[in-house]
């Protein structure tokens, strides 16, 4: 496999780190996990248990929380190493994390948490001893997050929380939730919001899975009925929730480098698939019209790689505000979605089958299943975390300075 990386590791420091981690992965990812589609042909619960176990092993070997301080259980590395880590994970087809909120909750704790919170929560988070979920969205507060209605009232030394959250990934199997609720209802909508760290075993919490269109269990909804949360479990101060959320932009940038590495792997799978699949009696890879479509996503992916390289350079230089966050989000969603469409064009009538049609080439089943999953999954990528429409609005208004309606 050939992946042009997004991190310039000509510097010795990066290169040594890369090689060491690569060797560890080589020795510690079971061989049977490697092929494309492995995780897509397994049930959700089994997959999470396997991953969780593997992540503990990885943590114990020193390969987790790369850029988190040692004192809180991290490796104490640099953002550059963190990016290399993400790339190597993708290169090795390492399992996705069982604890996907690490890049959001980890930095929130680091940046805004009190000392006891950092000591208490970060290490078990990184080691996936405790799984976390994020309770932001509500049925009537999706794109318009600031209009959320879940309410937290202070009663003595604890808050009482009532409301409903949705799109709370993996909530039913999580140990802790990172929840945004309204503590003050006067003033502007986005003021008066507070972040809470909530033990999912607290009475009054009812979490139920909502199946994804891919068939996977992932999202959930969470009902909160008089849930008592100790006042000390506020993160970043009462009514400071919006500030905390907006303080995470730099972190999101690093996370996107990791996301790019996975997309890059997906493109490799797509190109490999193009060589296997047949359309009209010849390899899809030889069809000039399909080559154009494939060429276009390769162009867009190369551009995203260059964008990631620049982002990494900016991070390394300690750059501040990222005005191109909505551009990144928008381009990622569109490009990944385009990749999905190219997959169906390459696969033709077999795109949706769980096994390749033998009359359409000798197609690896795992490859087909993984690309199929990616295709469906990408429909969500122009919606979650702010729709493509919202991103274009933000670009138009904040970057180009166009007037609001």
């Amino acid at each position: 496999m050939n992946i042009a990386t997004t991190v310039d590791t000509s510097a010795a420091e990066g290169q040594a780190f890369r090689l060491e981690f690569r060797a560890w992965l080589e020795a510690n990812i079971p061989h049977e996990w490697r092929p494309a589609g492995f995780w897509h042909m397994m049930d959700d619960q089994g997959a999470i248990a396997l991953r969780r176990e593997w992540e503990r092993k990885k943590y114990d070997a020193g390969w987790a929380g790369i850029d988190f301080p040692v004192e809180y259980g991290g490796r104490g590395g640099t953002p550059l190493q963190r990016a290399i880590y993400e790339e190597e994970m993708a290169l090795a087809n390492a399992p996705e994390t069982a604890n996907p909120q690490i890049p959001i909750i980890g930095p929130s704790l680091l940046l805004f948490g009190e000392e006891w919170q950092k000591k208490r929560f970060i290490k078990p988070l990184l080691r996936s001893d405790e799984l976390w979920c994020q309770g932001f969205s509500e049925p009537n507060a999706g794109s318009d997050l600031a209009s959320l209605r879940t309410k937290a009232e202070l009663q003595g030394d604890h808050f009482v929380i009532n409301g409903q959250k949705i799109w709370t990934s993996f909530a039913p199997i999580c140990d802790w939730m990172f929840l945004l609720a309204r503590t003050t209802s006067t003033g502007k909508k986005h003021q008066g919001l507070t972040l809470f760290l909530i033990d999912m075993k607290t009475p009054g919490i009812d979490a139920r899975f909502i199946k994804h269109m891919t068939g996977r269990l992932d999202f959930a909804e969470v009902f909160l009925d008089d849930v008592k949360v100790p006042a000390e479990n506020v993160l970043g101060g009462v009514d400071q929730g919006w500030k905390v959320i907006n303080g995470l932009l730099r972190e999101e940038r690093v996370a996107r480098i990791g996301q790019y590495a996975f997309y890059r792997r997906h493109l490799e799978l797509l190109v490999r698939f193009a060589k296997q699949a047949k359309r009209n009696g010849r390899p899809a890879a030889e069809d000039p019209v399909l080559r154009q479509k494939l060429g276009q996503v390769c162009v867009d992916m190369e551009l995203l790689r260059i964008h990631s390289l620049e982002t990494m350079a900016a991070i390394a230089n300690g750059a501040g505000q990222d005005q191109d966050a909505p551009l990144t989000k928008y381009s990622y969603g569109e490009t990944h979605q385009d990749m999905g469409e190219v997959f169906t064009d390459l696969a033709g009538a077999m795109w949706h089958l769980h096994e390749g049609d033998p009359t359409q080439g000798d197609v690896d089943q795992g490859l087909l299943r993984e690309l199929q999953f990616i295709f469906m999954r990408t429909r969500a990528e122009t919606i979650s975390g702010g729709t493509a429409q919202i991103q274009r609005n933000i670009i138009g208004e904040r970057v180009l300075g166009l007037p609001r309606a």
Binding site: S143, I210, H212, M213, W351, L353, T382, I383
Partner: protein, 362 residues
């Protein structure tokens, strides 16, 4: 199409839609998709398809059908498509159409009455139009891989395209007979069922009425499939428009934003043009007009695009709820994307339309 005709069709489609909504609504369809190992064959839908004459729309009256036109079949299938209806009715109608177009009077008389009455399930191989390599040996024994075939496990009659030098002939095979193996395969689209069929010297019977029927059949197949797609597309738009009128974000209905309104307007335009193209193609094929093959390609290409765009918009503009399993949007989207590659994807059809124009223009 006469005005009287048009009114009858509106009525027939309306009746079909109401019946389906009452007896197999979107929740029921979701349950069929959920039960991936089930037959994907709701009895009430099949019964209705037989009793209301849908299966026999195109079958001559003398063979138990209604003897109606392709445009009538399009109307019926659009209604079924608008309900994302599961079941082998389309596969069966396609097989019947192959027999009608290619079979002798005797073959038709023997097979079509059972099909019209819903007594047998039939299906067709080769819908993806990539060349298959099925050959006829001595004594009409057929061999070769048929690839993925709709409702292969259920079907009793199988129609297959068989190579005959440069030509392709349509043959019949007893799908439950000797020399036929079926390996069921799951599909992401839970509103149908599919299996890989292989023939190992299976006894075949050639459709002898019109040996060139394959070329007509694939155009009729494209139009009938496109009807289902058009049904998906129209319903997807209706549901989405209703949703964005009510769903509020930032203090106003989501549909008041041009970022939502304009793409939905484009979907409306696409569906409207697709509908016009499809009914025109149905009439042109019916009348065997000179340009009918091109018209069928125009219709299928446009229905492919309209159905994909409408169902993708359905997911996008429902926001997060649109990509959950309990919401029906994914049923529409997956089926539209599946059918996009049956009886010719847009690339296949655009190539044929371009070819036609290049040949016809001096």
């Amino acid at each position: 199409m006469t005005a009287a005709n048009a009114e009858e069709r509106v009525l027939a489609e309306d009746t079909a839609r109401r019946w389906l909504e009452q007896h197999c609504d979107l929740k029921a369809v979701l349950a069929v998709a959920e039960d991936a190992n089930g037959a994907g064959h709701p009895a009430q839908v099949w019964r209705a398809a037989a009793d209301m004459g849908w299966l026999g729309t195109l079958i001559p009256e003398k063979y138990g059908g209604l003897g109606l036109s392709l445009a009538d079949a399009v109307t019926v299938l659009r209604a079924l498509g608008s309900g994302v209806m599961p079941g082998p009715y389309l596969a069966t109608m396609l097989a019947a159409e192959a027999i009608r177009l290619g079979g002798t009077a005797a073959q038709q008389a023997r097979l079509l009455p059972d099909i019209a009455a819903g007594r047998v399930v039939a299906t067709v191989a080769g819908a993806r139009l990539d060349e298959l390599d099925i050959t006829a040996g001595s004594g009409g024994k057929l061999s070769g891989a048929c690839g993925a075939v709709a409702y292969a496990s259920l079907a009793q009659i199988l129609v297959v395209p068989v190579r005959n030098g440069a030509a392709t002939n349509l043959w019949l095979v007893d799908a439950k007979g000797p020399g036929v193996t079926v390996a069921p395969c799951q599909s992401v689209d839970g509103t149908w069922r599919v299996g890989f069929v292989t023939l190992h010297g299976a006894p075949g019977e050639r459709l002898e009425g019109d040996p060139d029927a394959w070329w007509r059949f694939i155009r009729h197949g494209a139009v009938l499939t496109a009807a289902d797609q058009l049904g998906l597309a129209g319903r997807a738009l209706d549901i989405t428009v209703d949703y964005v009128k009510l769903r509020e974000q930032f203090g106003r209905p989501v549909g008041a934003n041009q970022g939502v309104k304009h793409p939905l307007a484009e979907v409306y335009v696409a569906i409207t043009m697709a509908r016009k193209g499809l009914f025109h193609a149905a009439d042109a094929l019916e009348r065997r007009e000179r340009d009918a093959f091109m018209s069928a390609s125009v219709a299928k290409a446009k229905c492919n695009d309209a159905a994909r765009d409408a169902t993708a918009a359905m997911i996008q503009f429902h926001g997060a709820i649109g990509f959950t399993w309990p919401h029906p949007a994914h049923l529409f989207f997956k089926r539209a994307k599946r059918q996009e590659y049956e009886f010719g994807d847009s690339t296949w059809h655009r190539e044929r339309v371009a070819d036609h124009w290049l040949k016809e223009t001096a």
